[in-house]
């Protein structure tokens, strides 16, 4: 069937992987935060800040990897802000998260306007070029789809592997998981809950920012307003969909991206009968659906969203 045969082309899957990459970074970032027990609703704003910070670094003359680093630092800074308010102070993670999103977004826009006051169309930079991996790139279909991507995409997949390894095979990961399940147990074993949670949020936020930077430095080549367009919220759904496990979340991100890539095709097939907005709505509706399907069964980290007060009576 004409509609489905696109699914067997390498170009399609290459696009899907490319679309998935920012989602993978951000989802891993949110996953780390939530595993440690903190819901980070600053994700949308942090991705915006990361997108701008990375792009602007390159625009100002830095090289691409420096841009990625700056983006990560920007993310970590906002993560520190979020963590300071929610961990030692125990403020509502919902309110602080929305506040951080609003702050990060508005600071980004302000800085953008300040740095580039007269532009009408966003200036471009030279983004990451695709880096085909020798030998692997010649595998039929998979070669073009997986091994002819940009370096940041490879980094995304590598990040998933690192996150999975750390979480499940190192003492640090054990502590992070425990802090999201029972912080008192962690404190009783002589580990500082505050330090663990703050560290996790900062690292997670750095990853989210890199996810945002992917959009300006690898997928597109400039920064524009409303760039993130709800991807942050979708990543929150992806974390739930992946049951807080890196591998499953990765699959979720790829499936979602594949669907996103596919809806362009659906638009073509429908030939204008269905307004294009309907197709654009689908990612968001799909996320809601995914949340509903998974919600009942989800084994979430037990201490998620519950602030920890040391020595609470």
């Amino acid at each position: 069937m004409e509609a489905l045969d696109i699914l067997f082309t390498a170009t399609f899957w290459a696009a899907a992987i490319r679309i998935a990459s920012p989602l993978i970074f951000a989802t891993m970032g949110e996953l780390i935060c939530e595993r440690a027990g903190v819901l980070n609703l600053g994700i949308e704003g942090i991705m915006t800040a990361g997108a701008f910070a990375g792009w602007f670094t390159v625009y100002s003359g830095g090289d691409l990897w420096t841009g990625v680093l700056v983006a990560a630092l920007a993310g970590a800074m906002f993560g520190l802000l979020h963590a300071t308010l929610t961990v030692p102070l125990g403020l509502s993670q919902h309110v602080v998260g929305i506040g951080v999103t609003l702050l990060a977004t508005s600071l980004t826009y302000f800085t953008y306007r300040l740095a580039l006051p007269e532009v009408t169309s966003p200036p471009k930079i030279e983004p990451f070029a695709p880096l085909p991996i020798p030998v692997l790139k010649d595998i039929p279909i998979l070669g073009e789809a997986l091994f002819s991507q940009t370096p940041l995409t490879y980094l995304a997949f590598f990040t998933v592997a690192v996150v999975a390894w750390v979480l499940y095979r190192t003492p640090l990961g054990l502590a992070v998981r425990a802090v999201g399940e029972n912080p008192t147990a962690v404190e009783a074993q002589g580990i500082s809950v505050t330090a663990m949670r703050m560290g996790a949020v900062m690292v997670g936020s750095a990853l989210m920012a890199v996810g945002g930077a992917f959009l300006t430095m690898s997928a597109f080549n400039s920064f524009f307003f409303e760039m993130i367009n709800g991807r942050g919220w979708i990543c929150i759904a992806l974390v739930v969909f992946g049951s807080w496990r890196p591998g499953k979340a990765l699959i979720g991100a790829i499936l979602f991206a594949a669907f996103d890539a596919y809806q362009v095709r659906l638009q073509q097939i429908s030939g204008g009968l269905v307004p294009y907005q309907v197709f654009l709505m689908m990612p968001y509706l799909l996320s809601i659906l995914a949340l509903v399907l998974v919600a009942r069964r989800a084994t979430y980290p037990r201490a998620l969203m519950i602030p920890y007060q040391k020595g609470e009576r």
Partner: protein, 349 residues
Amino acid sequence: MRLEPKPAPSLAATLLYPAGAILATLVLAALLVLAAGADPLSVLALVAKGAAGSQFALLETLTRATPLIFTGLAVAVAFRARLWNIGAEAQLYAGAIITVVLGTGVLPLPSWLLIPVIMIVAVIAGGLLLLGPAILKTRFGVDEVVTTLLLNFVVVLFVSMLLEGVLKDPMGLGWPQSQKVIADAQLPRIVQGKRLHYGFVLALAAAVGVWIVMKRTALGFEMRAVGHNPEAARFAGIQVNRVLMKTALMSGGLAALAGFSEVAGLKGNLTLDLSPGYGYSGIVVAMLAMLNPLGVVLAAIFVAGIFVGADAMSRSAGVPSYIANVMVATALLTMVVAILLSRYRLRWR
């Protein structure tokens, strides 16, 4: 570091900390102004002048405050019951859509009947839109923050679809905008020739109404109880789910009235840029007001003043008007810290 609850805080303390929050916000704004190469004090003066320095400015501020009062109330009502309604933006547009659908001539009713009818249907539409995520929360345990957020994007796309399709203004030269609502559906201006309209009065009435419900009715009590401790509320015999549903209808309805008010009172038609984020700003307004309905009016005027003032200042001083957004976001964060500090003492080891 530990948090120790203070016994009942004094009135002075309750006011001192929010004042501190505003001060912190101003300090950050000053730093940003310096970064922009301008003088903080003169910029601040321009903002203040732009917000309230003339009759024109003041009226403009009140006009801008009108939708913020509605969305602020919507968020305050929901947050009181711990229903995290981040979808006021979508609910606002739902109200706007209804206003345009019913108000462009399809109902041949006189003004005194048409306006209430539109308002009621708008309220129902907004309420139903929030009811969905509320049901997903109570039935399936799905966090309403994410669902309401995602719906914002869906509804905005829906509006775009309608404006290019069914609701398209045939006389609009191809721009995506709706027809203008008929005269009978319009809210009159309070002052002839100025932009302030009776939506403002409705907003004030809504604030009083919400205050009465929260303070004086059994439903308001139940909403507060559910917001503080759903388990204890359930034990006491309160129908928690039913209360949440009613809260959702009320909250969504209030946000929808923001959309109604903007269309019927100010703009006259529906466009894609009807709301520059009123739904999100409503969250800040609600938190600044500490979820108090009457406080929402003051907070809305304050926030509106910042935006209006910053717009005016930006035109003359060249500092990007986004500084207003930064100030508002900072005010939100400093305010929650201030509330915490007024109730708890920070004890170092």
